[in-house]
């Protein structure tokens, strides 16, 4: 029998689309506050947001006559006609958020319209609203959400730990704050202040406050104008790249949003500068006429679509490419200058150039190189064992090569395999071989710690701090001794003795850059793996050039490996030109 669902259930289902987890509530409330013209926003969360979320703003406040509709579905003051949907200027437009939130929590709005005598308050529990009551309130709005999902136990069960939910909220607040440097934002979790972002910060300064002070050196400012489109923000030096894509931040007309062709275009521009498995770091604000963007494509407004997606992607690619290229040219741009110029980048010293004005005019872009073809048609690149289902079926190509090889360009080896020509990156393969050796050797050996004379102080973001605190025992077991050092930094007191040559700060940074999602591999394994990879790199770099005999030995050892296709850092070791491809290329076959 088909039955109409009661409205409360309908709303709960709809709510699930909008509100996936506590962070979604924070996002909606923050957007509402920004839409209301707030310049000062305070976000409070308790128990990872599941217990309580409050967003307090100093914006326009609700019109008293709108309050009865606050928690009603499709009630919005921001949009009236369908035509309006074509040029959305506000972050909200569906009139869906508060209704959804109200359906699955115990919510409260207390608001005083700017200039009004008194405030009003409305409560909503499981979608049932109370009548507005007058009350005392400061100008602006306080929206408080308690007991999220109290009536949707299934959802509640899917929540992660309070710490994990809190970390997501912190990331979100930080991200959104980047679009509005004129707004003062504070985040307090369980009484502890996690973010304090004063208005008027520069973009790099706020970015650094949110995501770690070390990041602010090595941000390349960008600012480009194309017809009907501007791009501004920065891209980070490739050596700041991360192992996750969390700091790939794009904003479209002030809205934090993803768009797949843009994402791809930016990564392509970074590609030649990054090792495999690394993701770039950037904040790019794209502005274009509102009718060129469709923001109404995702239930949580996390994605947008561009009317001219190809063109936008092209502009982004060009912007990023030019910025990355100009960084090499910046040193040259000082041609004919004074000898010792404090503004010259210190290419050789390895120090961040603190005197660079991040928002000064970007250095002149170098002429564009000819576009590089992505890859020769028909060439297969060896993929790592990371891809599910692939590892099992991929044979070790080194097991079936003829013994002869040709070394070219001091770096590549050409080999004949059963199905074609193999091109081997000798360095990458060497790294893989050394890595495997190290792994076997260190298995079961007691970990030794090289203690540091001068602790390396590393400034970290609150999220990173939380991760380090949680993982400190495992880190110590692997030989990395880290202690808290003030509210926003840690001190590295010792490093694994196998990595005696690696800088302690870099070690920790590298580890943090591997992403701190919980789940997946155990922390220990991940740490050990990273350390081995670094030890291996150090070993290979200090090694001499390989002679013929050594190359033979290398190839023999490679034949015994389980994962010979990638170096430990993710770069491929071997490229295969199949017989068929070669024949096709030389027109021996169609």
């Amino acid at each position: 029998m088909i039955r109409r669902l009661p409205p409360a259930v309908v709303n709960q289902i709809a709510a699930g689309e909008v509100v996936e987890r506590p962070v979604s509530v924070v996002k909606e409330l923050l957007e509402n506050a920004l839409d209301a013209g707030a310049l000062r926003i305070r976000v409070e969360v308790d128990g990872g947001g599941a217990e309580r979320i409050a967003v307090i703003d100093d914006g326009d406040g609700f019109l008293p006559e709108d309050l009865p509709l606050a928690f009603a579905s499709h009630a919005t003051s921001k949009l009236q006609t369908v035509a309006d949907l074509d040029h959305i200027g506000s972050l909200g437009f569906r009139g869906e958020a508060l209704a959804s939130i109200g359906a699955i929590s115990r919510a409260l709005v207390r608001s005083r319209r700017r200039g009004a005598e008194a405030g009003w308050e409305v409560r909503c529990e499981g979608g049932v609203e109370t009548a507005p009551q007058p009350c005392g309130a400061p100008e602006g709005t306080r929206l408080e959400v308690r007991d999220l999902f109290y009536n949707v136990p299934a959802r509640r069960r899917f929540l992660k730990s309070a710490g994990a939910e809190r970390a997501r909220i912190q990331e979100l607040v930080a991200e959104l704050s980047l679009a509005r440097l004129d707004v003062d934002v504070t985040l307090v979790a369980d009484g502890r202040e996690l973010l304090r972002l004063p208005a008027g910060d520069s973009l790099p300064a706020r970015f650094a406050r949110c995501f770690g002070v070390e990041l602010q050196h090595g941000l390349l400012p960008v600012s480009r104008t194309f017809a009907g489109l501007t791009v501004a923000g920065f891209v980070a030096e490739p050596d700041l790249a991360r192992r996750d894509g969390k700091l790939e931040l794009m904003f479209v007309n002030g809205r934090r949003a993803r768009e797949s062709s843009a994402l791809y275009a930016i990564r392509q521009a970074f590609r030649e500068y990054l090792m495999g498995g690394r993701f770039p770091v950037y904040v790019l604000q794209v502005n274009l006429p509102a009718d060129q963007v469709d923001a109404n494509v995702h239930p949580r407004k996390a994605e947008v679509r561009f009317v001219e997606a190809r063109r936008v992607a092209g502009c982004l690619h060009e912007t990023v490419r030019a910025a990355l290229q100009a960084r090499g040219a910046a040193a040259d741009a000082a041609a004919g200058g004074v000898v010792i110029d404090a503004r010259l980048p210190r290419a050789r010293s390895g120090f961040p150039d603190r005197s660079r004005d991040l928002f000064g005019p970007p250095p002149a872009a170098a002429p564009a190189p000819p576009p590089r073809e992505a890859a020769v048609a028909g060439v297969r690149e060896s993929r790592g064992p990371g891809e599910p289902g692939e590892a099992a079926v991929r044979p070790n190509p080194f097991q079936r090569v003829s013994g002869r090889f040709l070394q070219v360009l001091d770096l590549y080896l050409l080999l004949e395999g059963p199905d074609g020509l193999l091109v081997v990156d000798q360095h990458a393969l060497h790294e893989r071989v050394v890595y495997e050796r190290l792994r076997r050797r260190h298995a079961g050996r007691p970990v030794q710690v090289q203690r540091l004379l001068v602790p390396a102080v590393v400034e970290v973001s609150p999220t990173e701090l939380a991760w380090i605190e949680a993982a400190s025992a495992e880190l110590a077991e692997q030989g990395l001794l880290v202690e808290p050092f003030g509210p926003a930094a840690v001190a590295v007191q010792g490093v694994p003795a196998v990595l005696a040559k690696v800088d302690g700060k870099r070690l920790l940074r590298d580890l943090l850059a591997t992403g701190n999602e919980d789940g997946g591999t155990a922390v220990q394994d991940r740490i050990a793996e990273r350390f081995h990879a670094m030890a291996c790199r150090a070993a290979v770099m200090s090694g001499d050039r390989l002679g013929e005999a050594e190359i033979e030995a290398l190839l023999q050892e490679a034949a015994t490996l389980e994962h010979p296709h990638n170096c430990p850092h993710g770069r491929p070791t071997v490229l295969t030109f199949g017989t068929a491809e070669l024949e096709r290329y030389f027109r021996r076959r169609c």
Binding site: G337, G350, L453
Partner: protein, 364 residues
């Protein structure tokens, strides 16, 4: 420009200024050196934009003033091969003819106007120190500086001048070397000089030189002057750790041992410390210092040497390379080691004014 000068003097000067010429550069013009001739003699100048070197030669006969830019590497190589005691350089446009016994050569330069100009340094703080002393101080510290070139490491040496004493301090976070010298001056400064500049100095300074080396320290740069040679370098803008804080104030055990004995014993023991996990155990007791190392794959070393031991005795682990590197520049016959447990830095006294602090290795 036309000059006649002593080949040896010119070759030496070219070698000195060439030491700052970059091997690889995106600006090819930097692979040249500038020769300028005026009534007082000639000046040779080269820079890589971080460092600059200048040498003045006055034993030169200038018959026509002017300047010319010469390819640094080729000029140096050519002068080395020429046999006549004198050479003539004559330039017109951007070519320079070099005449000497070995033949006549034409070097193609670039326009001197294109070359970066020498900056006029505003006068900074000045001190003087015997060149040979400075050389030793650099050698006694530079090896302890970080070699890794990352954005986090300190690739420089601290020059800390205060209270009539110049201290050079270098650290890579695991060990720290200090060498000092009293000077007759009230000047105070605290700057970090890039390793590259100091390495160049090591090559340029005479061993045991009594000549005075002048240091001129500005906000952004430092100038070293000796005789008619001058080397200028940017300073590193970096915070140097508080080095006095890490010097151990007391120790449980004191070991006194002959330097040569310790060095050879440690070198032997270190052979069996694995390459990727450098560790040698130092154990003090019964007027013996015992050094042991073990590699699971290769074997075990056990070396005992006579030593004077005072205090509690005991053992700690060190990276042997850290200690060998320091012993290599140590000129003392007997060295002293003050050590406690494996969580405390150990102190080596390697000279009257040369102290070296190393952090031990401990279990996790």
């Amino acid at each position: 420009m036309k000059i006649l000068c002593d080949r040896n003097a010119l070759q030496e000067a070219v070698t000195v200024v060439s030491s700052v010429v970059p091997v690889k550069t995106t600006k090819p013009i930097l692979q040249n050196l500038l020769v300028r001739a005026d009534t007082e003699g000639i000046t040779l100048f080269a820079t890589d934009l971080e460092m600059a070197a200048r040498v003045q030669l006055d034993a030169v006969k200038v018959s026509k003033k002017g300047s010319v830019l010469l390819p640094a590497r080729e000029t140096a190589a050519l002068l080395r091969e020429l046999s006549d005691p004198t050479v003539t350089l004559e330039s017109s446009d951007q070519r320079c003819r070099i005449e000497s016994g070995g033949g006549s050569f034409v070097l193609l330069g670039e326009s001197p106007e294109e070359y970066p100009e020498e900056s006029q340094n505003k006068s900074g703080k000045r001190i003087e120190i015997p060149a040979g002393r400075m050389l030793r101080m650099i050698q006694e510290t530079i090896f302890a500086a970080a070699r890794e070139e990352t954005r986090y490491a300190i690739n420089g040496v601290l020059l800390d001048c205060a209270g009539g004493c110049l201290r050079l301090v270098a650290t890579d976070g695991r060990r720290l070397a200090i060498s000092y010298e009293n000077i007759d001056s009230k000047v105070e400064f605290k700057v970090v000089v890039p390793l590259r500049a100091l390495n160049t100095m090591v090559r340029a300074l005479p061993e045991d030189g009594k000549e005075a080396l002048q240091l001129e320290v500005g906000d952004k740069q430092i100038v070293f002057k000796i005789g008619s040679t001058q080397l200028q370098s940017q300073l590193l803008e970096t915070r140097f750790p508080d080095y006095e804080g890490v010097l151990p104030k007391s120790a449980d055990t004191t070991v006194e041992v002959q330097k040569a004995v310790l060095e050879s014993a440690l070198r032997r023991a270190a052979i069996l410390a694995p390459n990727d996990m450098r560790m040698v155990r130092f154990e003090a007791g019964d007027n013996q210092l015992r050094l042991t190392a073990e590699s699971t794959a290769r074997g075990r070393a056990d070396v005992a040497v006579d030593a004077v031991i005072k205090g509690a005795g005991g053992g700690i682990n060190f990276n042997p390379d850290y200690i060998l590197e320091a012993l290599r520049v140590c000129k003392l016959d007997d060295v002293r080691l003050d050590m406690s447990d494996d969580s405390m830095p150990a102190k080596f006294t390697l000279g009257e004014s040369f102290t070296y602090v190393v952090m031990p290795i401990s279990g996790a």
